[in-house]
């Protein structure tokens, strides 16, 4: 067994006794390994006595679960109504233009992935974005530009 399989076996052994263990297992696998590969899915299926189809069904249903390695950083932009009311749509369009990508895509240097999110619970300090693990409120175009330029060269020069 390779090292990844050993890690997977350990996660499954630790969590499989929980009732409805699949989501806790998937979260742990993603946290430790970064994503949930088809190989990992097969091992989880075996460990939890479920079919690979069931695992695939769950992994593909939930937005959080990724099946391949993502970019180094993730920028989530809140698309929900409270953020829209204070310039969220303009912020979203600006960032897409600057990075030259759409949602669910990564920049060419694979440094930054753009994802939508529907509410960070920060609605009285909108518009909001989440950059990796940190939530930013009252986001200005300036602040967003500074954040993306700190990790990728793919952002266009100031226009």
């Amino acid at each position: 067994m390779n090292q990844q399989d050993v890690q997977l076996e350990a996660i499954i052994a630790e969590l499989k006794q929980k009732p409805g263990a699949l989501l806790p297992v998937l979260h742990r696998v993603q946290t430790q390994l970064g994503y949930i590969s088809p190989t990992a899915q097969a091992l989880i299926a075996k460990g939890l006595n479920l079919s690979t189809a069931e695992i695939h069904g769950v992994v593909s249903f939930y937005e959080d679960f990724k099946t391949e390695p993502g970019a180094k950083h993730t920028l989530q932009i809140c698309r929900a109504e409270a953020c829209q009311s204070v310039g969220g749509r303009q912020l979203e369009q600006h960032l897409k233009n600057q990075l030259g990508i759409e949602y669910h895509q990564a920049t060419k240097d694979n440094q930054l992935q753009l994802e939508p999110v529907y509410c960070l619970g920060n609605c009285a300090c909108a518009p909001s974005i989440k950059f990796d693990q940190k939530i930013h409120g009252r986001v200005t175009i300036d602040l967003a530009d500074r954040l993306i330029k700190s990790v990728t060269n793919c952002a266009e020069a100031d226009s």
């Binding site: 409805g20 989501l23 009311s85 204070v86 509410c119 619970g121 009285a124 939530i135 409120g137």
Partner: protein, 523 residues
């Protein structure tokens, strides 16, 4: 002696720099040889003032805000630690009008102290409800909750006491102790414009734990789950620590406070699916499956988690219970109006000058909230529409802002209070774009089980796009109306069933935005 300073650890306060303010304060005061005892409290919910710094003085707590790291030096120069009246000073916290004119019942402790300090919680009447409940019969607790008139705060507003009674009575009556039952807390607060659950979990986590434990005593459950959305990592961190501490002090676990009763709570994290806020989808998700809605009946109260009788309640419903039991149902029931008893927790957000959390007895009006609390729009432009109750709530025009904020009055105007989110839009908003977004959101987040929701939402986006580009608008508006009727009548749950609310209200009250003049406008 060290001066006690409070700076919130609430994630919204942190999102606008509270951590940096705290770090700067510690550094700068140490540099000056000043002694500071920093407490990271929860938020009071006065979000336009965050990061808000409070200084404890002999005359009570003095507030300053919004404070940036650059403000710390000048504030220290002008006597911050003595609570002096200088720039950014808001006066005594308890005298801030926004806070003073509220009636905090569920949120009475929010922002006062360190959320994880169990002694602080006890000093503020924490666990008084649980201790009282341990001396009551299960039926006695259920009767008290019924008498309080508490209704589900997640949005559906179903009477909590009746739900609890159903679970208490479920199963083999002669053998009630043998029946496995569950308490599930719905902390999947996905509605845009809502943050009350998050604020409570981050500011007063023991109140939720205490409420769940009382619910367990009332219905005979020995296992609870908190299903928390993954978008709230700070709440997850605080709750998991609070669960450990509550267990160490025997407020949960085996033989609670020597009563012979057992109840454990496990924190589970969602995975980014809005639909899991619907209670049956949430149960499926807890069972490790896709978050697909179940048909009702059977009710979750009879066949819920793993097919067992289950109480599924929102965070606020559960967190309100301890104070009801401790203070008596009458205290709660005498607040409010008509069939909406107690307090409504409003979350004022979006394009508003003073956004934040407002707890008032039912019966206030949007006009009052927008003017007295909100102090008009953030942009300074006229307010055009207000969406109440999240993405499935109606857009409410000015002529309806006098409607009393109670469940039935809102239902009568084709709207809903839901979880109390109020999102404000100024006159730059294009209501056909908002209607389109309502359909788009439904298409993205639909679980896919029923056709009206899964396909209707996608067709809805297409129909609105045709209207916006002036293609046979008259007939397409009729088609949209027909589609809304189908979705409302034939969807399995509120996702498809209520997406028509924002769409219809936008068409009905803002017809000028559907005149086809949006041609070329970006969706």
């Amino acid at each position: 002696m060290a001066t006690r300073i409070y700076i919130p650890q609430d994630s919204a306060a942190v999102s606008v720099g509270a951590d940096d303010v705290a770090e700067t304060l510690v550094q700068k005061s140490a540099h000056r040889g000043l002694k500071v005892d920093l407490v990271r409290n929860g938020s009071r919910g006065l979000y336009w003032l965050e990061p808000m710094v409070e200084v404890e003085t002999d005359g009570g707590r003095i507030a300053y805000g919004p404070v940036s790291p650059e403000d710390i030096e000048p504030l220290l120069d002008s006597g911050l630690l003595e609570g002096s009246d200088c720039a950014l000073c808001l006066g005594p916290t308890s005298d801030i009008a926004y806070l003073k004119s509220q009636q905090r019942f569920t949120f009475s402790r929010a922002g006062i102290g360190d959320p994880l300090c169990i002694d602080n919680y006890r000093q503020l009447q924490g666990f008084a409800g649980l201790e009282q409940a341990l001396s009551m019969s299960a039926q006695g607790i259920v009767d008290e909750v019924k008498a309080s008139g508490l209704r589900g705060r997640g949005g559906a507003a179903f009477p909590c006491g009746i739900k609890w009674q159903t679970v208490l009575d479920a199963g083999d009556a002669g053998n009630n102790n043998q029946q496995q039952k569950y308490i599930v807390c719905n902390a999947d607060e996905g509605d845009s414009g809502t943050f009350a659950d998050r604020l409570l979990m981050e500011a007063d986590p023991y109140a939720l734990i205490e409420g769940m434990t009382i619910a367990a005593l009332a219905v005979g459950a020995d296992q609870g789950f908190i299903y928390l959305r993954s978008e709230y990592p700070a709440a997850a961190n605080i709750l998991s620590k609070a669960l450990t501490t509550a267990g160490q002090h025997n407020y949960i676990g085996d033989n609670i406070l020597g009563s012979g009763k057992n109840f454990d709570i496990e924190l589970r994290i969602g995975a980014g699916a809005y639909i899991c806020g619907e209670e049956t989808a949430l149960l499926e998700s807890l069972e490790g499956k896709r978050g697909v809605v179940r048909a009702k009946p059977p009710l979750p109260a009879l066949q819920g988690l793993f097919g067992k009788p289950t109480v599924v309640n929102n965070v606020l419903s559960l967190a309100t219970v301890p104070a009801i039991i401790a203070q008596g149902a009458d205290v709660y029931a005498q607040l409010g109006c008509e069939k909406s008893r107690g307090t409504l927790v409003i979350q004022l957000a979006g394009n508003i000058k003073q956004g934040g959390l407002i707890e008032l007895p039912f019966g206030s009006t949007l006009e009052h909230l927008l003017e007295s609390f909100g102090q008009s729009s953030l942009s300074g432009r006229p307010i055009k529409a207000v969406q109440v109750g999240g993405p499935l709530g109606a857009y409410i025009p000015k002529q309806q802002w006098q409607t009393p904020l109670d469940y039935e009055a809102f239902a009568r105007i084709g709207a809903m209070l839901g979880h109390g989110g109020v999102v404000v839009f100024d006159d730059s908003v294009d209501m056909s774009a908002q209607a389109r977004f309502a359909m788009e959101f439904c298409a993205i987040e639909s679980c896919g089980k029923c056709t009206p929701c899964r396909l209707g939402s996608t067709r809805g986006v297409e129909v609105i796009d045709r209207i916006r580009s002036d293609q046979d608008s008259e007939n397409n508006l009729l088609l949209l109306k027909d589609l809304c009727d189908t979705m409302e009548a034939a969807s399995l749950c509120a996702m498809g069933g209520m997406t028509p609310f924002p769409v219809r209200s936008a068409v009905e009250y803002f017809p000028e935005d559907f005149s086809g003049k949006q041609s070329g406008a970006k969706p």
